[in-house]
Symmetry: D2
Subunit: 338 residues, 4 copies
C-alpha cells in the first residue's frame, strides 16, 4: 500500500516535502495539490512530473477519496482550519509547525482528534528524528547518567531578514527547543523567563538579539536556551544535558578535519536546511511507515502542538515583562498516554 | 519509471539490498529473485512481501523481460558469469565486490561492456558514496589544498573469524582502500609493498595481523595503509590526505559527546554495517537515479573492478615476498574516459 | 635581588607556595614563617630545609627587616588584619583569597593601600594566569570577535565534604568566576541571581546542588554560571564567550587521545590542583618578577578583592531570595585605573 | 646548593638556556661563559646581568673550580671535544644535540663516561620531557593497552631556509623522533628505510620534501614517520601508538576553541619554539634537580646520543639507496642498564 498525499500549500517547504516523497522516500506518493496561488500548484505538478490533481482549495482536496493523508504546508494562520477539516474527514494529517497560532486553536485540534478516537495528526517537529537528539534521548532513558538536572542549549542563526519580529524568536525559533526538550527529558514545563543581554551590533533595530530563555520543569530541571539569530558565524544548534553522573552533548555536525593556515578546523554549517536534512527525511518516512504498519502516526502529536503553543505564548509574555511567566496546561487526555 | 531489479543471491547482503530497495529507497522494485538455495529465494519473497518471481538460476532470471537490472549478490566466484550473461542480454548490473576473482575475469567483463558500447555495470564499492570521502574528494578537486602528496590510512576491525585468511586482508579488507583511494586522488597505482609488524596476541595463529601496505602512484603519491583486523577496540576507518598547503582527514563518526567517570568521550563503532549504512543506501539510490535519468549508471565501473583485481593480486604477491610488487594495468579503453 | 618572603600560615596551601618558591620558581626565597600552630611552622622549615626564622605571630614576622613580602595563607578570617599590618609596614603582600571576609574589610584594605600611595597587594586569583583564560582575554581584547554579549560557564567539582556549606558555593567556588570574568570582559557587575535546579541525589542533605547564577554587567553582558560541586565525573571548568562575530571557549585540558573499548576519549581531571598548577606557578612568579622589575605587583588588586567581596555578598543574598540582587560598588579610586 | 653552570657557546640556543636558568628555573646559576666570538660572550653577561666570568675557551672555563656543570651549546662539530674535556675534569655536562657528529665520536664519549664510572652527561633531547610524550609512555608502560605494534608519526615544519640539506632531514629533524621513539617503546631499532613521495612545489630545488621513514625494532614494532619540512600550515608533531588493545595519540596543542566564519577551529603553532617550551624548561630543571638530589643526571644518556648517531647515519644512507638499511649498535655497557 502506498500512502497517497494531498498537499495543501506548494511554497518552499511544500515543494521540499513533495520532492522527498517523490524522489527520496519509500512508500508515499503525491496525488493531489492545492495552493491559494493556483499557478504555483500547477507548476509543482509539472516540476516534479506528478500524477496529481490540482484542487481549488483544501476542502475539495480533502474530499478526494484517493487522498489518504493531508500534508499541511500552507501559511501558519491557515493550518488550524485545514487540520480540523482533515480530522473531520477522518484523514491523516502531517502539519508543519505551528499546529495553530493560538493555544485555543491547538486545543480545538486536540479535542477533535480525541473525539475522533484514533491518532491522525503528526506535527512537523523534525528534531525528534535527528540522530543526535535520538542518541541523547536513548542515553537519558538508559539512566546510565542518572537524572537530568540542567540543559544548556543554543540556537544560533547566521542572520535573519527584516521581516523577523521579536515574537518570532519564540514562536518560530525557540519553538524547536520547546518541543524537543520536554520530549528529551520526559517532563513538562512550569515557567519560562526571557533575559535580554546586550544587543549585537548586527541586530535589526526593532529587535532584541540575542535573547536567553530560562525554562523550568515540573521535575525541577532548569533549561537555559540562548537564541541568537544574527550570530554571523553559522547555523549552530547546541544542547548539553547535565545529569547526576555526567554530561552529554549533541555531536558536532560531521565535517572533514583540516589543517591549513595555522588552523585545525572543521566546517560549521551556514544553511539551516543542511542541518536537519536527514531528520526531515526521517520524519516523513516514519509518518508513512507508521501509518502503513500500525494505522496511525507515531511522531509528535497534536498535544505536543498544544504544549508548544502554550509555552510559546508564555515566552512571548515574558519578552514583555522579563518576569518568570507560568506555563499552565489543561489536563492531558488519556488518549495521549498510550 | 520504476527500475525493476532481479536479484541473484539472497544471502545476507542480498537481503539487505532487497530491504533498502523495497522499504527505504525511491524508484526501485524487486521483481525477480534467484538463489542456489531455492528455499532462501522463496523465503525472501515472503519476508519482504515482494511481488516477485522466483527463478531456478541466473540465466532464467536475466531472461525475464520485466527485469531491468540484475543485482549480483551471490558468492564471489559466481559473479563473473552472471555479469557476463547480463551484459550479453543488455541488462544493467549492480555487482557486489569482487567483480571477478581474477584480473583476467574482470578484464573479460570490461571487454564485454566495451563491446556492448554503453555502460551497464556498476561495482558495489560503496565508500565513494560516504559523505566523508565525498567531502575529501571535493576538497582535493578544489585544489584549495594543493596537490596530494601522501595518504595515511587505517582499516581496523575489532576481530575476524577463524575462516579469515592472509589473502583476505588484501582482497576482502584492503580492497576498499584500493578502490576508493585512487578515485580520491585521480591517479593510478604503480606498486604495492606489504610490511609485517609484530603480531598482536589476538592474531589468528595462521595470520599476520596487523599488516602495513605502501602503495605508490604514477604521480608519486605514497599511501600508507594499516590493516588491523583484530584491533579489539572498534571498527575504525581513517584517512588523512597530506597536500602541499595542508591536510584533511575523514570526520570521526558522529556520536554524542559525554563526560563521565573522568573521561570525555565519544563512541567508536564496533559493527561495520553501521559505518557505511548511508553509503550503501546512496550507492543503490544513485544507481537507480542515474539509470532513470541518463540511461546508464554513474558509479564505480567495470574498469574500477579490474583495477581492484590487478592491485589485489599484486598485494597478495607482496604478502609472500615482502618486496615492492609492480602494478601493471593494460591500456584503459577510451570508453571509460568519458 | 631575591624577593624574601615571610609566610603567615603554613597549612596545605602555604606549604604548596613555599614549595614552589623554594624549588620551582626563580628569584624568591622564604626567610620567615609563622603559624598559630608553631609546631607546623617549625616543621615546614625542616621539611623544605629553609634558612628561615620562625615567628610567634604575624606582627613579629612583618617586623623582620629581612622580609620583603608577606605571603598570607592563614585561615580566611585572619587575612584582613595581616594584610593591613603589612601595608602599615610598607611591605608587599600576596594574599590568598579571600582578601577579607566582608566587603567592608576589603574596602579598608583598599583605603589603606590608596593612602600608602603605591601598590603593595596582590590577591591570589590564579585563573588570570591560566593560559586558556589569557588566550580568551587576548582574543576579546583584539576585537576580532566583536563585543562579548554572553558568557556560559560551568564550575564543576567531583564532590565536596560534609563541611561544605551553601554559602561556600558562592564565596569559595563561584568566587573564582566572579574574579576572572569581569577581568575577562573589562566590565563591572550590576546584579546576580541564583536559580536552584533539581538537586542531584549526591547533594549533601543541607545543600542545594547544582546551582545556576546569572550575572549581568554595566555593559549588558549576561553571564550564566553553573556551579555543581558533586558532579561526580571530574573537575571541569568551562567558559564560552559569545561575541558579535563568533564564539570562543577555553581549551580542554590536554590529554592523550585514546581509542579503546569502543570509546574515543581524553581524560578529565578529578583533582582540582592539577587544573591550575601552572597558573599557581605563574601568579607567584609574576608577583616576584613584577616587584623586582617595577617595584610593585601587577596582578589582581585589593580593588579586585573588594569587587569579589561585594559580589559574593550579593550572591549569598540571592541564594536566600532567589531574586536578582543588585551589586553596588563604591567609587573606584583613580589609583586603580593606571 | 646551587648548581653553577659554565656555558660553552652563547648563540641563540645558549642564550635561551641562560635565560631560563637565570630567570625561570630554580637552583641553577650561570657563573662562567665562553664563545669563539668573545664579544658575544661578554654581551650575554651584560644582557642577563650575570655574575659570571668570561673565558677565552672551553678548556679554561672547564678548569674554573667554581663551575659544577658545563652547558654545551656551541656549534655541533665542537661538542665532542668539549664533552670529553668536561668528563676528563669530572664535571657534569648538559650537551645539546648532537652529542657528536659521528657514531665513533659518540662512542668515544660513552667510553670516557664508563671509564669515569659515574653518569655525568645528559643530552638535550627535550621531547622526553614533553607532557604528551610522558603521558604516552606512562600509558604504554602501564600495559593497559597491551604491547605496542606500530607507531604513526609526523614531523612537520612550515618551512625551512636555503641552508637546509637533505641530510638535515635526518640528523636535524628526524633525530628527535629517533631519540624519543625508542625510549617510548623500550626497544632498539634494527633498520630504517627512506621513501620519497612526490615533491611539494614548495620544496627547495636541491631537496626531497616530504620524506617518509620506516623504522623497525628488535621487537618487531614498525614505525612510520613522515618528515615534511615545508608543509606550510604549521609546526605540527604527531605520534599515534597502535597497541594490541587500543591506540593512543599525542594531545593537540591546547588552544582556545573558536567558531567564526563558518569554521570551528583551534590554532596550530607555526613557531617550533612554542611547541616544546615547557619541555625545554623541564629538561634543564630535571638536570639541576637530579644532580642536586642524586649526584648524577637522570635524563637522556651518552648512550642515547650514540644510538641517535648510529641511527642517523643509517637513515642518511637510506636516503641514497632507498633500501632498508640495518642499524647495528655495539654492546651496551651495563653502566647504562641501571
Amino acid at each position: 500500500m502506498t500512502l497517497r498525499f494531498g498537499v495543501v500549500g506548494t511554497g518552499a517547504i511544500g515543494r521540499e516535502h513533495i520532492q522527498r516523497i517523490t524522489n527520496t522516500l519509500s512508500g508515499g506518493e503525491v496525488v493531489a495539490v492545492t495552493d491559494i496561488n493556483q499557478e504555483s500548484a500547477r507548476n509543482v505538478v509539472h516540476q516534479f512530473q506528478l500524477n496529481a490533481n490540482v484542487y481549488p482549495d483544501d476542502k475539495s482536496l480533502i474530499a478526494d477519496t484517493s487522498v489518504d493523508a493531508i500534508l499541511v504546508t500552507s501559511w501558519g494562520p491557515a493550518h488550524q482550519a485545514t487540520v480540523l477539516a482533515a480530522i473531520e474527514a477522518g484523514k491523516y494529517v502531517f502539519c508543519e509547525k505551528p499546529l495553530a497560532t493560538t493555544a485555543e486553536g491547538a486545543l480545538s485540534i486536540v479535542e477533535a482528534e480525541v473525539k475522533h478516537g484514533r491518532r491522525l495528526v503528526q506535527v512537523g517537529f523534525m528534531r525528534r528524528y535527528d540522530r543526535g537528539y535520538v542518541k541523547l534521548k536513548e542515553a537519558i532513558d538508559s539512566h546510565e547518567f542518572g537524572a537530568p538536572l540542567m540543559l544548556h542549549c543554543a540556537h544560533r542563526n547566521p542572520e535573519v531578514g527584516e521581516q523577523y519580529t521579536l515574537e518570532m524568536a519564540v514562536n518560530d525559533t525557540l519553538i524547536h527547543e520547546i518541543d524537543v526538550l520536554h520530549w528529551l527529558v520526559n517532563d513538562d514545563y512550569t515557567s519560562i523567563r526571557a533575559i535580554f543581554p546586550r544587543k549585537t551590533k548586527y541586530a535589526l533595530s526593532h529587535m532584541q538579539d540575542p535573547q536567553i530563555f530560562i525554562l523550568e520543569t515540573v521535575g525541577g530541571i532548569v533549561i537555559t536556551v540562548e537564541v541568537f539569530v544574527n550570530c554571523k558565524y553559522g547555523y549552530d544548534i547546541q544542547c548539553e544535558v547535565v545529569c547526576e553522573e555526567g554530561t552529554m552533548r549533541l555531536p558536532e555536525v560531521p565535517s572533514i578535519i583540516s589543517r591549513k593556515d595555522a588552523k585545525l578546523s572543521t566546517e560549521v554549517l551556514t544553511d539551516w536546511k543542511q542541518r536537519f536534512i536527514d531528520a526531515y527525511d526521517n520524519e516523513i518516512q516514519d509518518f508513512i511507515d507508521a501509518i502503513r504498519k500500525t494505522g496511525q502516526p507515531q511522531g509528535p502529536t497534536a498535544w505536543d502542538g498544544y504544549i508548544a503553543a502554550v509555552t510559546s505564548d508564555a515566552g512571548i509574555r515574558s519578552q514583555q515583562t522579563l518576569e518568570k511567566e507560568p506555563i499552565q496546561l489543561c489536563n492531558k487526555p488519556d488518549f495521549y498516554n498510550h
